[in-house]
Subunit: 404 residues, 2 copies
């Protein structure tokens, strides 16, 4: 029904319908999985599978929904940053670094080796390796918040290591793209690496130090009545800047959250950001589900390959991260190892770039996306079980996030 | 700088930059106008002029920004609905209806007559008339909230009358489009009218009655922990439904707010919606400013015509609304009359449809948009002066909205 002409042709009116359908689907999935005592994000991802093109086709992943999904993971990581003090990260710094680096090397080597063994070209194999690398900080943090262990020692190790992962994954991706294009610009690559490290160090150390020095900056009376918009502006600004220099936007959002965590306004900001944190992230999880193409996975050989690649991704990441986190003790090392396994959005993005540049085909794309989804679906129930075995010291969390 | 390939080509990364620029500009405009003791929305609209194509061209009005702008006015009207009890509207019902109807007839007759007098065709003249009709509920409510008189008798009369206005404007637009297309489908028009009236009556009377009967619906423990997402889903759902049947989305959002206002959860929802209300509306006001094309107005004859059309729009609306609100007494009738003058987004939409269908030209489009903006800029300072002369009974408001 088109009705009066004011509505006809209005992009905004169509977008309202999409947003409505996605939120309703997310909420239903969320409530069902809450009753099943399973992680609610799985309910939201499966809701995305149902409303997306794979099943009912109620909603397409339009540009508008992509932006809402991106804001979802941006506000999610901003929230995680708000719960993270730089001193907390420094405490777990060395084990997080080891976990991140080893958790990248093994999956990359595994993906690259298997690609070559399957007879793929070196550049295709590099893409496969790069797609197996990045832990999804967004999904992992949502599960950690859900379990109430975001602030625990192993929770902080996972967050720190996942950030390291994201940076390394983007560097590997740059190399893979360079190789696929017929050669890597070594000087350009070094510049990008320095830029990324400088960005993270500048805001993680300098930014938080500045906020500690002037803790009333965000809501000085001469500047703003409420700290919400200044905080959101800082979040969007650092997210956009991170994306501009080639890092993931979520790294900027996380650093912005860490900066706000050092101000006097941490608690008011948390309270006011909570509704944004309830509103946007469901779009991220539903969008992940919408990208599952059941058809591409239906062919027999593909399913086998998918299972193999998923097992490879899970085992290499677990072993690498576990080796890195060994110093935390057995129970925590296992928790960290499993917590690093979900790939989520970054693997999908890497695969998308590989497909767009013609380096990997339709089938390999479907497999990488399927692997990202499977690792995301399998890990939360496992983490829930392992969380019970964490030492009591480690299992406490400063504050559980409000979720509707 | 493009950096690593993950950022390159990402629509989401570009959108983050746009959202950041718009929020920063809005916040700066807001703060400057707060210090000048002027309505902050004017600061935000002027910020839009500056960042938009007219001056610095930092941001284009992309599809994503249009959706954020639409959500801005949707959450604004949801907020206004939350502050409105159906009994409050019933109290002012007859004067609001008179104000709305007379406030539509006079501007339409004026625009149509002047169009014919200028030698325009009947269909062009009808479009001009229709574009002069609709009061901007969004802008008017923001000013009323700003002045703290949203809950006063004249405030409620303005809101009620503006809703009547919106409905009549859309009907006139349907007629104008029909005439331009070579004939009006009378049966179809009657169906649309009945549908619009049924929609408003169903949710304004039936919806609020249902919420009064089951006041715990939104956050029953079996349904949701927090009432925020159910409330937002109701808001988006009614907004989308209103748009689908040819009404403005904001009418659905307003009705959803009125329904939530009858539940036990009104106050928790208000608190949790406040951050969404702080985050989204700036996009609406900045987007209005971005649509001002200073170049199209620069030609000498155009400026004269713009001044004439603006005066016509202001005087006919003031006189019509003043006649309708006379029973409220002199001071309040003047306040209501002036409060109805801003045209804002609806006039711009009407003009856009007229231009898209070729009935009005580039110049008339620029004039209508300019008139919408001018009436929006001129009214808030006037209203502020008139608000001081309101009777004390009328000047109280239940609660001022939190604005950052």
């Amino acid at each position: 029904m088109t009705g009066l002409p004011l509505a006809a042709g209005s992009v905004a009116a169509e977008a309202l319908v999409d947003l409505f359908v996605v939120l309703v689907a997310a909420k239903i999935g969320d409530e069902i999985f809450k009753r099943l005592r399973q992680p609610t994000i799985i309910g939201e991802i499966l809701a995305g599978v149902l409303v997306g093109p794979a099943v009912f086709g109620l909603v397409d992943l339009t540009e508008v929904l992509q932006v809402f999904a991106e804001l979802g993971v941006v506000f999610l990581l901003f929230w995680v940053g708000l719960e993270t003090r730089i001193t907390d990260l420094q405490e777990v710094g060395s084990s997080a670094l080891r976990t991140g680096v080893l958790g990248v090397l093994l999956p990359f080597a595994g993906g690259f080796g298997v690609g070559l063994a399957l007879g793929e070209s070196p550049s295709t194999s590099m893409f496969l390796g790069a797609a197996l690398v990045a832990t999804s900080v967004g999904i992992t943090s949502a599960v950690l918040i859900d379990l109430g262990v975001l602030g625990s020692r192993s929770g902080r190790t996972i967050i720190g290591a996942a950030i390291v992962d994201d940076i390394l994954a983007m560097l590997l991706l740059a190399v893979a793209v360079g190789v696929a294009a017929g050669g890597t610009d070594v000087v350009g690559l070094v510049v990008v690496v320095m830029l990324a490290l400088a960005f993270v160090a500048f805001f993680a150390l300098g930014g938080t130090a500045a906020m500690r020095k002037w803790p009333g900056t965000l809501a000085a009376p001469r500047f703003s009545e409420s700290p919400l918009l200044p905080a959101v502006i800082l979040c969007l600004g650092l997210a956009a800047l991170a994306a501009e220099i080639g890092l993931a936007a979520i790294i900027g959002a996380f650093l912005a959250g860490m900066m706000v965590a050092e101000t006097k306004e941490q608690h008011p900001v948390e309270e006011e950001v909570a509704p944004l944190y309830a509103f946007f992230p469901p779009f991220f999880f539903v969008a992940i589900g919408m990208q599952i193409d059941l058809g591409a996975l239906a062919r027999p050989g593909t399913v086998l390959l998918l299972v193999g690649v998923t097992a490879l991704a899970a085992v290499t990441k677990f072993v690498g991260a576990w080796l890195g986190a060994r110093s935390l003790g057995k129970a925590e090392a296992a928790f960290v190892g499993v917590g690093m396994v979900p790939r989520g959005e970054v693997g999908i993005i890497v695969a998308g770039i590989g497909r767009a540049s013609g380096v990997i085909g339709e089938r390999m794309f479907a497999i990488v996306v399927g692997m990202s989804i499977l690792t995301t679906l399998l890990v939360p129930p496992l983490l829930r079980i392992l969380a019970r075995r964490l030492p009591a010291e480690s299992a406490q969390s400063p504050e559980a996030a409000p979720q509707s």
